[in-house]
Amino acid sequence: MNMMHVRATVNGDAVEFVCDPRETMLDVLRDRLALTGAKEGCGTGDCGACSITVDGAVVCGCLMLAAEAEGAEIGTVEGISEGGELHALQENFLKHAALQCGICTPGILVAAKALLEENPDPTDTEIRYWLAGNLCRCTGYDKIVRAVSDAAAEMRENG
C-alpha cells in the first residue's frame, strides 16, 4: 500500500498523518485525528454535515482527498469556540433551540461562521442560500436562520 505522508494544521495545531491516497479529509479527521465533530451524512457533497474550512473556504470534507491537505490550514467545529468561550453562533444556536438531533449542527456552524466572516450583516435570504448545502431534517430551518441572524447582530454590536 502506497501510503501518503501529510503535514497540515488543524484548528491551529500542527498535525502529521499517514493515509491511504483514497481516504478523504473527512476520513482522516474522524478516523485518524479523532476529530469526529464533522459527520458523514451522504459522502457525495449533498448534505454539508462534513463542512470544514480549508485555508478559510468552507468545503465538504467528504469531497477532498486527505492527500490534498499538505500544507493547508483546516478548521473544524472543534475549533470554533476559543478558550472555553462559546462562539456567538454556538450561544445563539442554544438560545434559539436551533438544533434538534444535532447531527447537522457542526456543519452548519462551520458554514455559518464562514458566512459571517464574509458578510457580517446577511439578510435571511442570504443566510438561506448560503446554507442551502447544509441539510437539516429536524427543524425546518426556521430557528437556524434566526440563530444565525441574531448571532450576526450580536457580533456586529460587539465589534
Binding site: 459527520k39 473544524t76 454556538q90 442554544l94 438544533l99 434538534q100 438531533c101 438561506r128 446554507l131 442551502a132
Partner: protein
C-alpha cells in the same frame, strides 16, 4: 393520576420555560457522540453485499475469493443467524439478510468484516452471487392485479377475504352508519383517486453501530436507535442469545422520525463480531440508507364525500391501498382510522389494504399512515368547499369532532382540542392576509393518536443535592431538557441541578421505543412519578428526623415542612440538606417508576399554507406557512415549536419533491440526497407556530404528544394551496413541476 382541574389550575415554575438543553454544548462543539463516532481497539469494518435485482432467487453464494483475502476476518449470510424464528422476528431477519430470495433492490445478501473499510469493500466485489432473476412489481395498484408477480406466497393473514391476489396481505375496515344513505342526502358528492409516493424519513445520520459479541454469548452494542431496548431484544432473538447478555447503549441519534425504530445492520455487525471474535463497526452509506432501510409506504386511495349546501358532511368513504415493501406492515389501518378522525360524521366507512411489493420493508415515518389519508380526505373537502362556495375553516368547524363525538375509528372522544386549533387558525393574521396573483391558500386538519408504551425511570440523589435522572427513551428532539424540567418542577429544585441520561439496557427496566410521540408523555409521566416517589422518601426522612408521622410532612418548593401547626414546629429542610445526610438516615435515596401508562391524549392540528405556482414551469414556492396544533401542555415551547416546524418542512418535501423513483428494472433510481430532494434552507419560508394547550387529563401536567401530528396536515394543505393557485386539482404526490404542468395542460385542453 392527577385530575384535570388540578392540571389546569396549576402554576408552573419550570415547565413552560425555555432553558438551554443539557446536551446543547456537546452538540454545538462537536463533542456529542453519534452512531459512527465510536471506535474500539482491534475494531473491524463491516460492509454489506446487496442485491442489484428487484426480485431474484439466490442460487449460490461463493465467498471463497473474499475469504482468501488476508484482511477479511469474517463473512456471514443468513445461515449465521438463529433458526426457527417466527412472526415479525422472522420478517426482520429476512429483511436484514436475504434467505432464498432477494426481494428488492438493495436487499442484503451477505456481509464481510475486514481490517479496513477499503478492504471490506474490495471483499464484497469478490463474493460471487448467482441470481435467477424473477419478475418483480413495485407499484401498489399493479401488485394487486390478477397477473402480478407473487412477491411472497403465504404472507397474507386471516383478515384478507378469499379471492385476493397473494400480494394482498392484510385487510381492515372501520366506520359506522350507512354511507349510501348519507350520500343520498348530500347536495354534492365528490369522488376522487389519489396517489402518494414513498417518502424516506431522510434523517441526516446514516445507520451506524459498533458491536462486540463473544463466543460466550455476551455482547455489547452501541448504535443510533430510537429504542435500544427493542433493538437489543430483536438482536438477541436473531442471534439466538440471551437478551440480558447483550448490553445496548444508545448513541446520540442523528434523526429517526420512525426510521430507527427497528434494526438493519445491528444484528449483522453482531454476527460478524461473533464469527471474527473482534469488535465490528458498520456504517451505512447514504445509498444503502435509501435502498435498504424503511421509507414510508406509497399509497393509492379513493375517497368519496357528500356535503350539503350549508357545509354539513353527510357521509365519507375511503379506500386506502398501501404497499409497504416485501413484508406485511404497511400502516393502511392508520390511514383508514385517521383520515376522517377530525370530523363528527353520522356515516363513515374506511377500508384499508396492505399490499406487498418488491421494495424495501417500510418503516414507521411520523404518524404512519395518517398523512396520506388526510391528503385524500382533506383534498376532497377543499374541493367541495370550492364548488359550494364555502369557507374551508367554517366548514371544518361545522363538522369538527368535539368531546363526545364518535370517532370514525370507534370510540367517543374525551376532551380534545381540534376546535381550538381551527379557531386559532381562523383568528391568525395569515388567514385574512391578501394573496398575490398566482398564489393560492390551503387549509387542512390532521390527527394522530399518540402513544404511551412500557416505561421505566430512575431518579437518584447525590449527596450535594443534585439529581441524576435515568430514562430509557433515546432523546430524539430535546427530551432530556423536558425531563429535567418536569423533574425540577416536581422536586421543587432548579433545572440545572438535574442531569438526565439515557441509560443503557443493563441499567434500567425495559422501555418501549421513542416513537408514537410518546416520550414527553410517557417518560415525562414516569419522571414526575419517580420524582414524587423521591419526595415521598425525602419526606419520610424528614419525618423520622423530626419524630413525627410521615403524613404530617409536606413537600413545598424543594423543602420538607410540617403539614400544619399540629405537626409541630420545625424549620423546613431542603432536598440538599436531606441528601447530604442520607447515608446516615437510611442510605441512598432513589425514586423510580415503572409502568405502561395508559393515558396518552390524541391530538389535532390545523395548517395554513400559501403557495405560488409558476404556470410556465410548474414550479411551486411555499410563501407562507402557519402551524396550529394542540400540544396539551408545552413543557419546553421551543422544542414544541421545533416539532411543529420540522413536521411541516417534511410535509412540504413529501408534497412537492420527495419520491422513490423506480426504473422498469425495479431498481431505485435516486438513492441519494441529490435526487431524493428534501427541502433545503432556501426552499422554505419561516414557519409560524401557534401552540394550543388543551390539557390531556391522562398526564399530570397535561402533555399530549407533539412529534407526529405536525406531519398529518401538510400534504393536503399544500395540495389545496397549489390546486387553488393553479386552478386545477392535484391528486398525485409529489406535485413535481412536470406533474403540475401536465395538470395545467389537461385543464387547458378541457
Amino acid at each position: 393520576m392527577m385530575a384535570l382541574d388540578e392540571t389546569t389550575a396549576r402554576e408552573f415554575k419550570v415547565v413552560g420555560t425555555r432553558p438551554v438543553r443539557p446536551d446543547g454544548v456537546d452538540k454545538v462543539t462537536g463533542r456529542a457522540r453519534f452512531g459512527a463516532d465510536a471506535y474500539a481497539p482491534g475494531m473491524l469494518h463491516g460492509a454489506v453485499l446487496r442485491s442489484p435485482h428487484a426480485h431474484a432467487r439466490i442460487v449460490r453464494i461463493d465467498a471463497s475469493a473474499a475469504e482468501a483475502m488476508p484482511e477479511v476476518k469474517a463473512i456471514v449470510t443468513q445461515a449465521d443467524f438463529a433458526e426457527g424464528l417466527s412472526g415479525e422476528n422472522r420478517n426482520v431477519l429476512e429483511n436484514i439478510m436475504a434467505g432464498e430470495r432477494a426481494l428488492y433492490d438493495g436487499h442484503a445478501v451477505a456481509a464481510v468484516a475486514a481490517t479496513t473499510a477499503f478492504a471490506a469493500r474490495d471483499a464484497l466485489k469478490r463474493i460471487e452471487v448467482e441470481y435467477e432473476v424473477l419478475p418483480h412489481v413495485t407499484d401498489v395498484d399493479e401488485a394487486m392485479k390478477e397477473d402480478a408477480p407473487v412477491v411472497r406466497d403465504g404472507a397474507a393473514d386471516a383478515s384478507v377475504p378469499d379471492g385476493m391476489h397473494p400480494n394482498v396481505v392484510r385487510y381492515h375496515e372501520n366506520g359506522h352508519g350507512d354511507v349510501e344513505a348519507g350520500f343520498a342526502t348530500a347536495d354534492l358528492v365528490i369522488e376522487e383517486r389519489f396517489r402518494t409516493e414513498a417518502a424516506h424519513q431522510g434523517y441526516i445520520e446514516p445507520h451506524a453501530c459498533l458491536a462486540q459479541l463473544g463466543p460466550d454469548g455476551k455482547g455489547e452494542l452501541w448504535c443510533c436507535t430510537q429504542g435500544h431496548f427493542v433493538a437489543g431484544k430483536i438482536c438477541a432473538s436473531l442471534l439466538g442469545i440471551d437478551a440480558s447478555q447483550l448490553r445496548v447503549t444508545a448513541s446520540e441519534i442523528g434523526g429517526g422520525f420512525g426510521g430507527k425504530t427497528t434494526v438493519f445492520i445491528e444484528p449483522v455487525a453482531l454476527a460478524l463480531s461473533r464469527k471474527a471474535n473482534r469488535p465490528v463497526k458498520i456504517v451505512m452509506s447514504r445509498a444503502e440508507v435509501f435502498r435498504a432501510t424503511g421509507p414510508t409506504s406509497s399509497a393509492s386511495m379513493d375517497v368519496r364525500i357528500g356535503m350539503k349546501k350549508d357545509g354539513t358532511i353527510t357521509a365519507g368513504e375511503g379506500v386506502f391501498r398501501l404497499q409497504g415493501g416485501a413484508f406485511p406492515g404497511a400502516p393502511m389501518e392508520f390511514s383508514a382510522m385517521c383520515a376522517f378522525a377530525p370530523y363528527d360524521l353520522e356515516n363513515v366507512r374506511c377500508i384499508g389494504w396492505d399490499v406487498i411489493c418488491n421494495r424495501p420493508k417500510q418503516a414507521a415515518y411520523r404518524a404512519p399512515g395518517s398523512p396520506m389519508g388526510a391528503f385524500a380526505v382533506e383534498s376532497v373537502i377543499d374541493e367541495l368547499c370550492n364548488r359550494l362556495g364555502l369557507d374551508p375553516i367554517e366548514v371544518r368547524l361545522k363538522n369538527a369532532a368535539r368531546e363526545g363525538t364518535r370517532a370514525a375509528f370507534g370510540p367517543r372522544y374525551p376532551r380534545i382540542g381540534l376546535v381550538e386549533t381551527l379557531e386559532a387558525a381562523r383568528a391568525h393574521a395569515h388567514y385574512s392576509a391578501p394573496l398575490e396573483p398566482g398564489q393560492g391558500r390551503g387549509v387542512s386538519c390532521g390527527f394522530w393518536f399518540n402513544h404511551a408504551g412500557e416505561t421505566a425511570v430512575s431518579l437518584a440523589l447525590a449527596e450535594d443535592g443534585t439529581v441524576s435522572l435515568s430514562v430509557g427513551t433515546p432523546d430524539i428532539g430535546g427530551s432530556r431538557a423536558s425531563m429535567c424540567q418536569m423533574a425540577a418542577e416536581a422536586l421543587g429544585i432548579s433545572y440545572d441541578k438535574i442531569r438526565t441520561t439515557v441509560a443503557d439496557t443493563a441499567t434500567l427496566g425495559y422501555n418501549d421505543v421513542s416513537h408514537g410521540s410518546r416520550v414527553t408523555y410517557a417518560s415525562g409521566l414516569a419522571t414526575i412519578k419517580a420524582a414524587e416517589d423521591t419526595v415521598d422518601k425525602l419526606c419520610a426522612r424528614a419525618a423520622a428526623e423530626w419524630g413525627i408521622d410521615r403524613d404530617a410532612v409536606v413537600w413545598e418548593d424543594g423543602h420538607a415542612r410540617p403539614a400544619g401547626p399540629n405537626a409541630g414546629e420545625f424549620e423546613p429542610v431542603s432536598l440538599a440538606r436531606i441528601a447530604s445526610r442520607m447515608g446516615r438516615t437510611g442510605g441512598p435515596i432513589v425514586g423510580h417508576f415503572e409502568a405502561t401508562p395508559e393515558g396518552a391524549g390524541v391530538s389535532f392540528a390545523t395548517h395554513l399554507v400559501d403557495a405560488e405556482v409558476d404556470p410556465e414551469t410548474g414550479a411551486t414556492k411555499v410563501v407562507r406557512y402557519t402551524v396550529v396544533q394542540d400540544a396539551g401542555k408545552a413543557i419546553h415551547p421551543s422544542y414544541v415549536e421545533g416539532q411543529f416546524q420540522g413536521g411541516a418542512a417534511q410535509g412540504i418535501g413529501w408534497a412537492l419533491n420527495e419520491e422513490y423513483i423506480y426504473g422498469e428494472d425495479g431498481r431505485l433510481q435516486n438513492p441519494g440526497f441529490l435526487d431524493y430532494r428534501i427541502p433545503v434552507a432556501s426552499d422554505l419560508p419561516m414557519i409560524d407556530t401557534v401552540i394550543v394547550e388543551v390539557p390531556n387529563p391522562g398526564h399530570p401536567y397535561g402533555v399530549r404528544g407533539v412529534g407526529e401530528t405536525s406531519i398529518c396536515p401538510p400534504l393536503a394543505a399544500i395540495a389545496n394551496a397549489v390546486s387553488n393557485a393553479a386552478g386545477v386539482r392535484l391528486c398525485e404526490l409529489p406535485m413535481s413541476p412536470p406533474r403540475i404542468l401536465k395538470a395545467l395542460d389537461a385543464e387547458a385542453d378541457g
